[in-house]
Amino acid sequence: VTERATLDVTDRPSAPEPPAPKKPSKIPWWANPRVGLSVLLVGLVVLFSSLRPSFLDTQLTLVPLQADISVYLVVGLAQLMVLSLGHMNMAVGRMAAMSAFAMGLAYDRLGLPLPVDLAIGMLVGLGLGALAGLIISRTGVNSFVVTLALDFALVGLITILYTTFTNGVAFPTRPEGMTALRFDTFADYCAGDICGPEIPLVVPFAIVAVLAVGLLFRYARLGREILMTGSNEKAAELSGIPTRTRVLQAHALSGLLAALAGFLLAANNGAFSANIGEEFLLPSFLGPVLGGTLLAGGAVSVLGTVLGATLTQVIYKGLNLLQFQLDQLKLYIGLVLLAALSLDRVRHVLAERRGARA
């Protein structure tokens, strides 16, 4: 526990939105993880496009890349919501899958239009997250255990539900507008001669999520109180913050974002299927952690999450274009993660030394 506390204190200045530090941060700009990420990102884009010029091909690469980033960015934000508390959400993928199931069912059985389906699915996600949050805040059991058990339970439930209500794999029907979300970009919509940019229709969803989460943690009372709860629960409690409610709310919002991510993936794949969310767990941690968010809680970096998620997807896409096999892909993603984190650590230590000398 003490290790955690010291980690928390020493690493705090690198986080972008700490609760207004009293003394100015001594960490120089180059020790900021987001600067490193940006440099790495630019470097990789240059590398990939020089190796494979098709990396800059709009239709082949850039449009699908944007759609992928949108999905995994929202997944990262879902994890970020609970990382702010120092908690984890191991069920992030399964919450997305349950929500996607609810969306599919709402259309398949009730024929509700797309926005209503989305709303129902997000409510299901919100409910699942709230359930996890409720158990965690009422019993004080570690969030890892609760969400892991929830994940176990949902894996079983989802398969049963899909075999009961569909052919077992996916809903055969999809609401009107799903196809447009999947294939269209704003370039397909023109007002007179002026057409939009080559941006897929799913991107605005992610942008709204980023802005909402960013504003929540920076300006909203709820967000600040969640961060304070994550930083020091006892102190927060003593300052009159209803910490149990904040824990519940953070988990509920995590479920909500997971539901949105499930919807975006379903839109990208073109179907509400049982395998949605299966690959969410690793990326959900990759984005925030690469972006400099700690597991200790109390500090988050939304911009870092954006960069982290983008970097991960750029690497996937680039290695894919270079025709790496799946196993090599995993190998390199893991190595990049380790390297990025170690470099971050090295930068941090150097910065601390310089700060101490100054």
Partner: protein, 331 residues
């Protein structure tokens, strides 16, 4: 029967009260009741030689993998790479026997050493980068997944060493040898934590790193040792897998990560570190195996097992918390 093989977990002062109060006691009762109930419900089918043999044979890996996770939980960290590491070691052992043609003994040693080495690397990475163990093992899990697939692609190894297969099939006094091996490993781990200086130091580090440091214990060494043992145990699980199942492919270990957490957590091991329970972990693995057999006996949907296990994990944890609260109130 597991109780007798793990003497160090029975409270040494031997008072009945403390035994009844131990969290393992209720777990043992539940396990026994569950076993008897399942035996009756299956019309005694569970007690036939073949079923009982399979029951214990496939209990070996969950026990060892649960212990592998437990060791790292003991110092307050997690090892997400246990499952894929088991698969990787199993694949390498099979590769050594089939493609290199080395004797089974060398392949077994190779798998154990590989597990140990990867564990040490995990530990060193945690120590040197000062990154949270969860993240480090998340990264190494991804890397090992790639390596595991790289051994033989999507293909399956089979028809390796008949002697190792015979070892996997053998039974002594009606109990599979691999299960006895798992019990022996559990006994060693229990002895390690109860009676050796290194084991006590690990628990001290897990309980309070700060206090441990002040008492002259190297937390860094504890971290490396814990991860090394965890890796070694994953290697043992790999050997059991290779011996007990006639073929291995690159999907081995994918379904081990969640059970590896389920067993220690149901068994009462705290995620915050400092507490381990070998007996609890073994009993919990036994319980999960019961649920598994129940599925096979009554032909329940395969996936509803996950639902039940999830509910059991959550229920066990909630009961444990409740129990502690009640005990605290009564004293």
């Amino acid at each position: 029967m597991t109780t007798q093989t793990l003497p160090s977990l029975v409270p040494t002062n031997g008072r009945i009260r403390s035994i009844v109060r131990a969290p393992e006691f209720s777990l043992a009762i539940i396990a026994m009741v569950g076993f008897v109930a399942l035996a009756i419900a299956s019309n005694g089918n569970l007690l036939t030689r073949g079923t009982l043999d399979a029951f214990f044979r496939f209990l070996a890996v969950p026990v060892v993998i649960g212990l592998s996770q437990m060791v790292v939980l003991g110092i307050g960290q997690m090892n997400l790479s246990v499952g894929v590491l088991t698969g990787y070691c199993a694949m390498v052992a099979a590769w050594m026997m089939v493609d290199l043609g080395v004797p089974a003994v060398v392949a077994v040693l190779g798998a154990l050493v590989l597990g140990l080495v990867v564990g040490v690397v995990n530990g060193l990475l945690v120590v040197f980068t000062r990154i949270n163990g969860f993240i480090v093992t998340l990264a190494t899990m991804t890397i090992i997944e790639g390596l595991r697939y790289g051994v033989h692609g999507p293909d399956t190894y089979q028809g390796y060493s008949p002697s190792l297969r015979a070892f996997g099939r053998a039974s002594i006094l009606g109990l599979p040898v691999v299960f006895l091996l798992a019990l022996a490993v559990a006994g060693i781990v229990a002895f390690f934590f109860a009676r050796t200086v290194t084991g006590r130091k690990l628990l001290a580090t897990g309980g309070s790193p700060f206090a441990a440091r002040l008492s002259g214990i190297s937390n860094d060494r504890s971290i490396v040792i814990a991860h090394a043992i965890s890796g070694l145990l994953a290697g043992v699980a790999a050997v059991i897998t290779v011996a007990a199942s006639g073929s291995v492919n690159s999907s081995i270990g994918d379904d081990l990560l969640l059970p590896s957490f389920a067993a220690p957590i149901i068994g009462g091991v705290a995620l915050t570190g400092g507490v381990v329970s070998v007996l609890g972990t073994c009993l919990a693995a036994f319980l999960v195996r019961l649920v598994d057999v129940m599925q096979a006996q009554f032909d329940i949907n395969r996936r509803s097992i996950d639902l039940i296990v999830g509910a059991v994990v959550l229920g066990a944890v909630l009961i444990g918390t409740l129990r502690q609260k009640l005990l605290r109130r009564s004293t």
